[in-house]
Amino acid sequence: MPNSILVFCEQRDGQLKNVGLEALGEAHRLGTSSGVAICACIIGSDVASSANDLSAYGASRVYVAENASLAHYSAELYATILSDLAARLQPVAICMGATAMGKDIAPRLAAKLKTALVQDCVSLKMEEDCSLVATRPMYGGKLMAIVKPVSLALQVVTIRQNVFPALELKPNTSIPIEYLALPTTRTRSVAKVREVQQTVGGKRELTEAPIIVSGGRGLKGPENFKLVEELANALGGAVGASRAAVDAGWKPHSYQVGLTGKTVSPQCYVACGISGAIQHQAGMSSARVIVAINSNPAAPIFKLATYGIVGNLFDILPVLTEEVKKLRKKCA
């Protein structure tokens, strides 16, 4: 199918990741005007039941690689499945989320296929010749690069989470679903995932959260993070932290937003007691709405903020949490 886009829809423990559905939505949007078919691929040990659901997000065909040996992620195996499928379909592009998994598969896949790779795209445009022009942040978001493949060949792109909207169409239960055979030529040494240790434990993962409330040095101590957590709970969001708070040992590194932490682009980012150094901005500047609460009116975060309150966060946060709860109760 030379006229297709292949979308890898990531799942963990049978749960499809939002970003894969966002990739399907974007592929559908790009492809509709040029008659491009949207092929989805899911890989795992117990994933077939998700295959039918994908039509509601824009897939017109689904390929399933299902086997007990695929329960844990394997870069080599997953990339081989996708490159074998791509060799057969000859799609114009292969899209996936710029997740830990997607950013791990995509380089191998692009190297196997000897093709262009664009990581962490925030905007895509399809030219008349079906090549994709991609926009991606560089230098920690200080610049955007607009890139295009040199030749008209298949390219691999990973997309940033929470940037592209997922579709909600009427599910079509009759879309074709094809089961893929596992690649057999595995003579090479491969890395094996022995176990997955959960660290976040039931909490919403930072990069997928629509709302994030982050705390920084201004909290003055780990015990005060509960103010941030209470606001996050009231808003239905996740908790993040600045590098200062992580380096001080108040929160583990998995909470860190910024250059040496996670890059997030939620609908709303609330920065509490975070001055907003350039390294922090690198991780959150693409949030749609940024709210800053800081006692220092000269803090750089206010240059970035959509809304700001200058003041003592120990006064502000409890009142804000109460007001949000009140509103929620009223709307419920």
Binding site: L117, Y139, K142, K192, S254, G261
Partner: protein, 261 residues
């Protein structure tokens, strides 16, 4: 190891509009590559054996990778190799991986350590692509690494969204390093003195036996049309008044205007 503009740099765009102006920038060892160098040194110290070679490439004429390589030698690396020449200029992650792979094939190695990404291009691609081109496994974004020299294998903890993947792989293997793996040392004064005597060799594309057409701008799969500043955000609004007034206004805006609550 990649030399990158210092993270605080003010960046300007060249007249052509497709790259940054590097002429007045100060450069540093890519911070994630420091974790890689430190890890290599710690492994060597733990095992009491082995040799640490640092490999870099000049991708832009204005870069000064020799300085960054000397820094790594001063930290304690044994020798350094710089891929240099016009053939290496420009290009993309694929040509970089291709060049590094050709150089690495001329060196003995058990472990290849990279930073998880360079903080200029923010791609996180080259280390993994080298693994693929060499036909060996990789574990990326690693924040804990055990090396078992007898069984010639590693156990690596890799950070994923909601946890840690514990991954096993045999030598030779590529590891890309994440913050948390270690605390990179500062070069000591004796280290800096010693570094001046350590070998820093320059290899051209002939030395690594690769056709220049596969490298740099001529081998690149991707072309940068332009670089531009990110979309400017509208000037923010500071909500005035006492705490209660400001908070009520914020909640009203988030609810009524932004539809977030």
């Amino acid at each position: 190891m990649k030399q990158v503009p210092a993270t605080e740099s003010k960046l300007t765009i060249v007249a052509d509009g497709n790259d940054i102006d590097r002429s007045n920038l100060s450069f540093i060892v890519n911070p994630y590559d420091e974790f890689a160098v430190e890890e290599a040194l710690q492994i060597k110290e733990r095992l009491g054996a082995g040799e640490v070679t640092v490999l870099s490439m000049r991708q832009h004429e204005s870069q000064k990778p020799e300085e960054a390589l000397r820094t790594c030698l001063a930290m304690g690396a044994d020798k350094a190799i710089l891929l240099d020449g016009p053939a290496f200029h420009g290009g993309d992650s694929f040509t970089t991986a291709t060049a590094l792979t050709s150089a690495i094939q001329r060196l003995p190695f058990d472990l290849l350590l990279f930073g998880k990404q360079a903080v200029d291009d923010d791609g996180g691609t080259v280390g993994i692509q080298v693994a693929e081109l060499l036909g060996i496994p990789h574990v990326a974004v690693v924040n804990k690494l055990e090396v078992h020299p007898v069984s010639r294998a590693v156990v690596a903890h890799r950070q994923v969204e909601d946890g840690i993947e514990v991954v096993e792989a045999s030598f030779p293997v590529v590891i890309t390093c994440q913050k948390g793996l270690n605390e990179p040392r500062y070069p000591s004064l004796p280290g800096i003195m010693k570094a001046k005597q350590k070998p820093l060799n320059t290899w051209t594309c002939e030395d690594i036996g690769i056709d220049p057409g596969r490298l740099g701008a001529s081998g690149a799969k991707l072309k940068t049309l332009r670089v531009e500043p990110p979309p400017t955000r509208l000037t923010g609004r500071i909500l005035d008044g006492d705490t209660s007034t400001a908070v009520k206004e914020l909640v009203r805006i988030l609810h009524e205007e932004e539809k977030l609550i």
